[in-house]
């Protein structure tokens, strides 16, 4: 069975990462191996924006953990940006082998709402599945509910399912 390496950077509850791995494994029918990554995130911090450069992080995860024949996915809990955008939830190399996502802006308490562990877990699974979809060459989809629909606002994520629509599934 082909493999996805899920690498956690930062402190996550063990159960949280396991549930993500389980769900991703089910949705893509890939074996998911959990690994821990250690990076000095200070190297990626932009003091003027007080955020972390996702382009550089993605490249670093690809350099350190990218492996032919498997997908590598880095999970962070810091505020990610790319130069042109104020923030991003995650990103990936389209048709490549690496993706990253952060839980930072997925948590309800970031928006002054009651924090629900299940909501954070669901959103993270969707974000991981979405970015992994890009590594499989899938682009954004216009079928409502498909995990590959673009989400630029946190509650957009709640509007979709964690799985691919039949069109994307056929391409995958």
């Amino acid at each position: 069975m082909p493999q996805i390496n899920l690498i956690s950077f930062g402190q996550f509850e063990v159960d949280f990462v396991h549930k993500i791995a389980e769900s991703v494994s089910h949705d893509y029918n890939y074996k998911v191996a959990i690994r821990e990554g250690h990076l000095d995130l200070a190297d990626f911090f932009d003091p003027t924006r007080r955020q972390y450069n996702a382009n550089e992080l993605l490249k670093m995860v690809d350099t350190l953990f990218g492996d032919s024949g498997v997908k590598s996915f880095g999970l962070f809990n810091v505020d990610l940006f790319i130069p042109i955008l104020t923030y991003i939830f995650g990103q990936a190399f389209l048709g490549g082998r690496t993706g990253i996502a952060s839980t930072f802006r997925l948590s309800n308490d970031r928006y002054g709402l009651a924090n629900k562990k299940e909501t954070l877990l669901e959103r993270t699974i969707k974000e991981v599945n979405h970015e992994l979809g890009h590594t499989f060459g899938l682009v954004h989809c216009h079928v409502p509910g498909c995990v590959m629909t673009s989400s630029t606002y946190v509650e957009d994520i709640d509007q979709k399912k964690s799985t691919l629509c039949s069109n994307c599934r056929a391409q995958f």
Binding site: N29, N55, P83, L85, L113, H140, H142, Q159, T163
Partner: protein, 444 residues
């Protein structure tokens, strides 16, 4: 399928070009980059682009000069200018020179996405207008709507005819008939498909929560509201809002909703600034709204505002001819998601399914097929895998009591003696059902 929209990015900063390139490639656009205006103009001479996203401040020829030159090459080009410096003067000048819009770096992803979708919508509308006379309409993204019966074909014809309009739609049908799927099909086949379809399950929220969900709230509007939050109407800007279980909303929310539908303006909870949103509304209900209007529990003016087009989804018992197709679809769906080899169904089991009433409609059939795959032998679904027991009313029975007894026995059996579900199907409360079970001495 719609053609790929092409975007040319013109910016002297490599990191900006790379970020935008990756962003748009993931969105499925065809993208090219140029590091200065001269190169952009040379690309545009040989290749046509739908959208040009250009920085204003560049060495050599600046963005405004380039904008004017592009407009002489192709008058209807969509050009969006961007700059790191918020300057009203340059913005006004760019718009006067024919720019489609103006943005300041760095962008909010939501704003960028919205801006490009607006541009895409304009392109697709003008192309649709040109091709309108010879266009052959075919529905997209309806693969999940299964059925070839006349009743379902009629529903799809209605979806096709209503999709391109902006009219409000009420979808009626019993629980489990697939009302949300029809709402998605309408949205996916409308010119709003590049914008979100935002769903709200009105029945699941209390009045105050629903108000905050629909209209959003301002920081400090209530205890715990520490940040501003967009409401669903705002999120649906450019797209469609789907209000499920519309019959459950309170009289107060009916008034609020009517006002928003009439003006498309609203104020966030705790706010004082009026927000405008361009959305289309689709509602769904399993109740008889007209009867609710007659009894005074649903506002007549709101009813007529919503009920411009009414699409009725037939219950499964009215299209039992579609059951084999649906069963086949659900078998493939669940075998695929459970990573199992596709099972088949024997003719006796299929016949039993076709004879069954399905009070819970397609949802009930789907659950039944899923259950049969889980508990079955992995090769063939047979009668013993189905939670349906055939109970026939003796032909010599004529009394109402005997018919009631047989019917209750049948419904209990269909629901595996789950009292809550059986009572719901019989439309009686649980106590009444228990009394009937005692009265007729019914046993599993």
């Amino acid at each position: 399928m719609a053609r790929k929209i092409s975007i040319l990015i013109v910016d002297d900063e490599q990191s900006v070009r790379d970020s935008l390139y990756n962003w748009f490639i993931e969105d499925g656009y065809h993208v090219e980059c140029a590091e200065h205006a001269k190169k952009a103009l040379s690309i545009l001479e040989s290749e046509s682009f739908d959208i040009v996203l250009a920085d204003i401040k560049m060495p050599g020829m600046d963005g405004l000069e380039m904008l004017r030159r592009i407009k002489t090459l192709k008058k209807d080009s969509i050009i969006i200018v961007m700059t790191a410096f918020a300057s009203v003067d340059t913005a006004v000048q760019a718009l006067k020179d024919g720019a489609f819009d103006y943005v300041t770096k760095p962008f909010d992803p939501d704003d960028l996405s919205h801006l490009i979708r607006n541009a895409t919508k304009q392109i697709s509308l003008s192309e649709e207008n040109e091709a309108l006379r010879e266009r052959v309409v075919s529905l997209e993204n309806v693969e999940d709507i299964i059925g070839t019966s006349e009743a379902m074909s009629q529903v799809l014809r209605e979806v096709e005819s209503v999709a391109q309009s902006n009219s409000s739609v009420i979808i009626t049908g019993e629980s489990g008939t697939g009302k949300e799927l029809i709402a998605r099909a309408i949205h996916s086949n409308s010119s709003r498909k590049f914008f979100p379809l935002v769903s709200v399950h009105c029945g699941a929220l209390t009045e105050s929560l629903l108000e905050s969900e629909l209209f959003g709230h301002e920081k400090g509007a209530f205890t715990g509201a520490m940040y501003n939050r967009k409401g669903r109407f705002e999120m649906a800007d450019g797209g469609t809002i789907f209000l499920d279980e519309i019959a459950t909303i309170s009289q107060k929310m009916q008034v609020e909703l009517l006002r928003v539908l009439e003006t498309h303006n609203f104020i966030r909870v705790g706010g004082n600034k009026e927000i405008s949103s361009d959305f289309r509304v689709i509602c769904a209900t399993n109740r008889d709204l007209k009867a609710m209007v007659d009894s005074g529990s649903f506002r007549e003016d709101l009813y007529y505002r919503l009920n411009v087009v009414n699409i009725r989804i037939p219950p499964l018992r009215e299209r039992s001819g579609d059951i084999p197709l649906l069963v086949d679809y659900f078998i493939r769906k669940y075998c695929n998601s459970m990573n199992r080899t596709t099972v088949s169904i024997d003719s006796a089991a299929l016949k039993r399914l076709q004879e069954f009433d399905f009070p819970g409609n397609i949802r009930e059939l789907e659950n039944m097929v899923e259950r049969a795959i889980v508990i079955g032998n992995g090769k063939k679904i047979t009668l013993k895998d189905l939670p349906i027991r055939k109970i026939t009313v003796p032909s010599n029975v004529e009394s109402l009591e005997e018919i009631e007894k047989a019917h209750i026995q049948q419904v209990l059996s269909n629901h595996e003696w789950n009292i809550t579900r059986s009572a719901k199907a019989l439309m009686v409360d649980r106590v009444t059902l228990y009394n009937k079970i005692r009265k007729y001495d019914l046993k599993p």
